[in-house]
């Protein structure tokens, strides 16, 4: 972890000159063209920009689910490029929580089973994992639905389960990919409120990729991407005031 200076939160993720190209030859598409970004502990950072600007690709690179060609990504002081794939997987399992646009809850597993996945993958016993999952489900307000199946829940409820799943193993980085895209406006706002309330801590950082301008006000900083690069990084309220 980088040292903090002048009371500023310390750096959790440091991306420098990250490039990523899909395809080869004439059909090659440069998705990331030397992206730089710092993500700080204790902050909710949003990555915004038009479709196809490379937001999701950059998010995938930051959390180690996609390899990149050039540049460097330091995640909690570990250089992702220097780690073996198995190390990255283990590191990700321990340190990253995911909230997906489509929730990705396994339909044949009930709520508490879905929420306990990260702990089970880490080797925790079923009882321990489910007890921890239950605590988180209670915290996100859906504890009474522990035995329900995802198809029996509304979109907002499913996203709450996804939040519980993302936090159950106490990760230091929460990755959210369009968390409100599949939700109505009210549910989307509630989910972000909840996320801000229980996910944001001084020892943790949250990255949200979104198109949804209604939730920009929840961001501590907004990285604006365009054409495979971070065009600007705005402080709290700046982007909202400027564009929305």
């Amino acid at each position: 972890m980088s040292d903090s200076a002048n009371g500023q939160p310390s750096i959790a993720i440091e991306a420098r000159g990250v490039t990523k190209t899909f395809g080869t030859g004439d059909s090659a598409v440069a998705a990331l063209k030397g992206v730089d970004l710092d993500v700080r502990f204790g902050e909710l950072t949003m990555i915004v920009g038009p479709s196809g600007c490379g937001k999701t690709t950059f998010l995938s690179v930051l959390c180690g689910t996609m390899k990149f060609e050039d540049g460097s990504v330091r995640l909690f002081d570990r250089d992702l490029a220097g780690m073996r794939p198995a190390e990255v997987t283990a590191f990700r399992g321990k340190n990253v929580g995911f909230i997906f646009q489509q929730f990705n809850l396994i339909p044949t597993w009930n709520v508490v089973e879905n929420a306990s996945i990260p702990l089970l993958l880490a080797g925790a016993s079923r009882a321990t994992a489910e007890a921890a999952a239950q605590r988180l489900l209670d915290e996100v307000g859906i504890g009474q639905k522990r035995t329900a199946y995802p198809t029996q829940l509304s979109g907002g409820q499913q996203q709450r389960v996804a939040i519980a799943r993302a936090l159950v193993h106490e990760p230091r980085l929460i990755i959210c990919d369009e968390p409100t895209a599949s939700l109505d406006a009210a549910s989307g706002m509630k989910v972000l409120e909840l996320l801000k309330q229980i996910a944001c801590r001084p020892d943790r950082c949250v990255i949200v990729v979104t198109h949804d301008s209604r939730i920009f006000s929840f961001a501590d900083r907004i990285a604006e991407m365009e054409d495979g690069q971070v065009k600007a990084v705005h402080g709290k309220g700046e982007y909202h005031a400027q564009y929305v």
Binding site: T56, T57, M66, A90, G93, T108, P118, L121, R126
Partner: protein, 377 residues
């Protein structure tokens, strides 16, 4: 995670039913057809079980038990005089036509036992006494004969009569015997009387049945007999395998049954492989999500293999179970032949295991190739 892997499998009921159905069909086809094949092969050696002796002596050119090249009666005395032989008795075995009271004919396997000792006598009598074979014109007919005669409207029982080669045969007993490949009933009588029933020939002795002296191995006696010009000998076990090998080499039975078994394997691979691939494909997004959340390849491999083995076990159990039920059913009726030695379920299990491994590997390759970042798309 393994428990949840099973839950993932059982939760998709339609796919699960298809997978189990495919493997059940495959296991059923293989175990049932192989068992019928084994039963058929076993029928070819029925004479060896109906006449139980350690050593069989035949003409040197005889290759299997249903083939007779007659010997001279004097050969019995030659064999008796060989070292290591406790006793040797003659046996007549031939297929003759029995003429029934209504004038119809029924082919029978006439078996003439040594008159003095009745060596090779039926193991289980259903009616009458074996010793009554020494009465004039006495014969004992097996359950196949009862069934065949009944099909022609004749209720066969002790006291019934029919003719063999224009000579009277009086039933003094009914017995249980193993059904033979040829399907004709066994009719037991004495050796002397069998020679009277049989059409006149210069030589009529079919086999010499031999008992080694105590402490002498049947194989030793076999070697001694083989040294005699014109004769050969087999232990009962050796004759069994030689007979089956002959049928395997000289008939189309293995090819026709083998084709069905191979078809079962191919159909099993096709159904199970494709369905499992579809199952994995549909769950790929969730598997990728698990990868993103830190699932190691070994964890995912365990999950996929467990799912494959779970359907394999269910399909195997149902398939072999149905085949066994079929077996129990047909054993009551006696036809078609059915014999399921332990090797059949093991063979079926190995093939099902192979199909499961193959299906799991195909699915696993797809999962391994999937980038965890696919969950963001």
């Amino acid at each position: 995670m393994l428990r949840l892997a099973l839950k993932m499998l059982y939760g998709d009921r339609a796919k699960y039913a298809m997978l189990v159905g495919g493997l059940t069909f495959c296991a059923l086809l293989m175990s049932q057809q192989v068992s019928v094949f084994c039963g058929l092969m076993r029928w070819t050696t029925a004479t060896l079980r109906n006449i139980q002796v350690p050593v069989w002596v035949t003409d040197a050119k005889v290759e299997q038990v249903n083939e007779v090249v007659a010997l001279r009666d004097i050969e019995v005395d030659r064999v008796k005089s060989l070292p290591g032989v406790e006793w040797a008795v003659p046996l007549y075995w031939g297929i003759l036509n029995a003429r029934l009271p209504d004038g119809s004919f029924q082919a029978v396997q006439l078996t003439g036992l040594d008159t003095a000792t009745l060596v090779g006598r039926p193991g289980k009598m259903l009616a009458g006494r074996v010793e009554d074979l020494r009465l004039p014109n006495a014969v004992i007919v097996d359950q196949v004969g009862v069934k065949k005669f009944k099909a022609k409207g004749i209720e066969l029982k002790v006291g019934s009569t029919f003719e063999i080669n224009d000579k009277e045969a009086r039933v003094v007993g009914l017995c249980q015997s193993d059904q033979s490949f040829l399907g004709q009933p066994y009719v037991f009588t004495t050796y002397d009387r069998a020679l009277q029933y049989a059409p006149p020939q210069r030589k009529l002795l079919s086999f010499i049945l031999v008992q080694p002296k105590p402490g002498i191995a049947p194989e030793t006696v076999v070697q001694t007999v083989r040294a005699v010009p014109g004769l050969t000998a087999y232990t009962s076990d050796e004759f069994f395998h030689k007979t089956i090998a002959w049928y395997m080499a000289n008939t189309g039975i293995p090819i026709s049954f083998g084709t069905v078994v191979v078809l079962g394997i191919v159909v099993g691979i096709a159904i199970a492989g494709q369905t499992f691939y579809l199952f994995v494909h549909e769950n790929l997004r969730f598997m990728a999500a698990l990868k993103a959340m830190g699932a190691r390849t070994s964890t995912l491999a365990k999950m996929v293999f467990l799912q494959a083995f779970a359907v394999g076990l269910a399909g195997y159990g149902l398939g072999v179970g149905v085949a066994s039920a079929f077996g129990f059913g047909v054993l009551k009726g006696g036809e078609p032949p059915f014999y399921m030695p332990w090797q059949v379920p093991v063979f079926t299990g190995v093939v099902i295991l192979f199909i499961c491994c193959l299906s799991a590997l195909i699915g696993l390759v797809k999962i391994i190739r999937a980038e965890p970042a696919v969950v963001f798309k």
